[in-house]
């Protein structure tokens, strides 16, 4: 199903998104615009459904209500054949890297080419080495995923994600658990690849400073809604108390420090078993 103008400056549009897992509401009317060629960050505390949003964009989950349009096509309404065609033009970097553990680094990067093209072996080799060179791991081609550090695994996964030259790449928590050097490398790569390859990037993260440094536009999510959005500078000046607490990492604020509990003094003095 084609909607709107595929060549518009928006690559993805989300309107009125509602999504529930069991009884828990994850999204309660979310609107988002992803601009072509830009790095858009989606931030929020853990458990706000940032990863779920990427899965909805990739068609792995279906929304309860609302529309998700990627490159002019309404994702939830696509047949599986059309969805797979669309996914060939999307790359996704999973938090764990999701490398195939029985294949070497080289074969992991070659995997999408072998599955989707009939290119001769010599060309596959050249393409894979070019992608590995771009992430600085051409020398690691013969290693197995178990021999890689977390940061290297993510770079290999990034090389694999750009193998088919996608129009957009979704990064799921790319900086979680990285040392400063790996984080610096990933930051540089995300920005550099976005500029040189001209694709669109969506970065899901809760690392505020790092993500803000490379983003063109930021959405802040909390409790199923977009609480603030704008360029990094606009958000710093945002009047929203929630946005200020999240961006500055204050322990107390609209998101309280204490988990809801009965009154402290009463709780101590009555001596009853807490329930």
């Amino acid at each position: 199903m084609t909607i709107g103008n595929p060549a518009s400056h928006l690559l993805a549009e989300v309107r009125g998104l509602h999504f529930k897992r069991g009884d828990r509401v994850i999204f309660d009317g979310v609107d988002l615009d992803i601009q072509r060629g830009k790095v858009t960050a989606i931030m929020g505390p853990s458990g706000t459904g940032k990863t779920t949003l990427l899965r909805l964009l990739g068609g792995q989950l279906h929304p309860d209500a609302g529309t998700i349009v990627v490159d002019g096509q309404e994702v939830p309404k696509l047949s599986s054949g059309r969805l797979y065609e669309l996914r060939k033009r999307m790359g996704m970097l999973f938090q764990s890297g999701a490398l195939l553990t029985d294949l070497s680094v080289f074969e992991n990067v070659a995997f999408p080419l072998r599955e989707h093209t009939d290119l001769p072996e010599a060309m596959i080799r050249d393409l894979v080495l070019m992608k590995l060179e771009a992430v600085g791991l051409r020398g690691a081609r013969d290693l197995m995923p178990s021999q890689l550090s977390g940061g290297m695994a993510r770079r290999v996964a990034l090389a694999r994600a750009i193998t088919l030259d996608p129009m957009m790449i979704m990064y799921d928590e790319p900086f979680t658990g990285q040392d400063p050097i790996s984080m610096g490398v990933l930051l540089k790569l995300i920005r550099l690849l976005n500029t040189t390859l001209g694709h669109t990037s969506i970065v899901v993260s809760h690392d505020v400073a790092e993500t803000a440094a490379i983003s063109d536009y930021i959405y802040l999510l909390s409790e199923g809604k977009v609480v603030a959005h704008g360029t990094p500078e606009e958000l710093k000046r945002s009047p929203s108390a929630w946005a200020q607490q999240f961006l500055n990492g204050h322990a107390d604020g609209p998101v309280p420090f204490h988990y809801p509990a009965p009154d402290y003094v009463t709780d101590l003095l009555t001596g009853k078993e807490a329930r």
């Binding site: 797979y84 996914r87 060939k88 790359g91 999973f94 999701a98 996964a157 088919l164």
Partner: protein, 258 residues
């Protein structure tokens, strides 16, 4: 009331799983023709499912045959019928023990490995990753394993039976002094190609389908955590064993009952 509700809940979730299992089986059947162009994937799996199971099958076949030789001889000799030892060993193996014991060993050796492998691929997001690379995991990962299991099981059962016959020969002829000519000629005269051997092959084929289907489904349907994978692996072995023994009775009744 609570008990009733729980009973209803377990019944519903049982049928739901059964439904999911059958849908997955249909999905794999639907994708089988496309494997003709990617037969290399099947060959790889025949190696890990079949070839790597050879050792346990060979050793078990040999020992089961030796025990059959020993037990059979002790019973037959009372009736002066020890020349029929070859027939007894061969029929027991070809009709029953070959397909059934091979399927049980297969569930323990290859089935559990398949479930754990697929379950861990799910837990480490490898299957999700494939989906996002527009590669269908049912076609790329599950179907080649199912086909490999279906190809491997009858071959493993045949090897098991052949080794069992040899084991019976070593004990019966080699140790207990049964006449060698009688051992082989009685076997040749009394084992029928269609009634015995073909039915045994059909059994092992059916067990191959069921054992691999259960293993692949449990892996694909598991809760993607360490505990979930461990439970799924256990379920594979238990469910396959029960299914094989139950089906064996039904198949035996159909084939030899009338």
């Amino acid at each position: 009331m609570d008990t009733l509700r729980q009973l209803g809940h377990s019944a519903l979730s049982f049928f739901e799983r059964l439904g999911r299992g059958h849908l997955l089986f249909a999905a794999m059947l639907w994708r089988m023709p496309s494997l003709v162009r990617r037969f290399g994937l099947v060959v790889q799996q025949v190696y890990s499912v079949g070839v790597l199971s050879l050792l346990i099958i060979v050793v078990s076949g040999l020992f089961v045959g030796m025990v059959l030789g020993l037990q059979g001889y002790n019973t037959l000799v009372d009736f002066g019928a020890e020349e029929s030892l070859g027939t007894l060993v061969a029929l027991s193996l070809v009709r029953e023990l070959g397909p059934v014991v091979t399927a049980l060993l297969f569930a323990g050796r290859a089935g559990s490995a398949l479930t754990a492998e697929i379950g861990l691929m799910k837990a480490t997001e490898q299957l999700s990753g494939m989906e996002m690379m527009a590669v269908d995991p049912v076609r790329r990962v599950l179907t080649p394993r199912l086909v490999a299991g279906i190809i491997s099981m009858p071959l493993l059962a045949a090897i098991f039976s052949a080794l069992g016959v040899l084991g019976g020969y070593f004990v019966g002829v080699g140790l207990l002094g049964v006449d060698e000519g009688a051992y082989w000629s009685q076997m040749q005269a009394n084992v029928e190609l269609y009634e015995d051997i073909a039915n045994g092959v059909i059994k092992s084929f059916v067990f191959g389908v069921v054992a691999t289907w259960i293993a692949v489904f449990e892996g694909y349907d598991c809760v993607p955590t360490s505990e979930g994978v461990s439970r799924a692996t256990t379920r594979t072995v238990v469910h396959t064993s029960l299914a094989v023994l139950g089906l064996d009775f039904i198949l035996t009744a159909l084939m030899f009952g009338g």
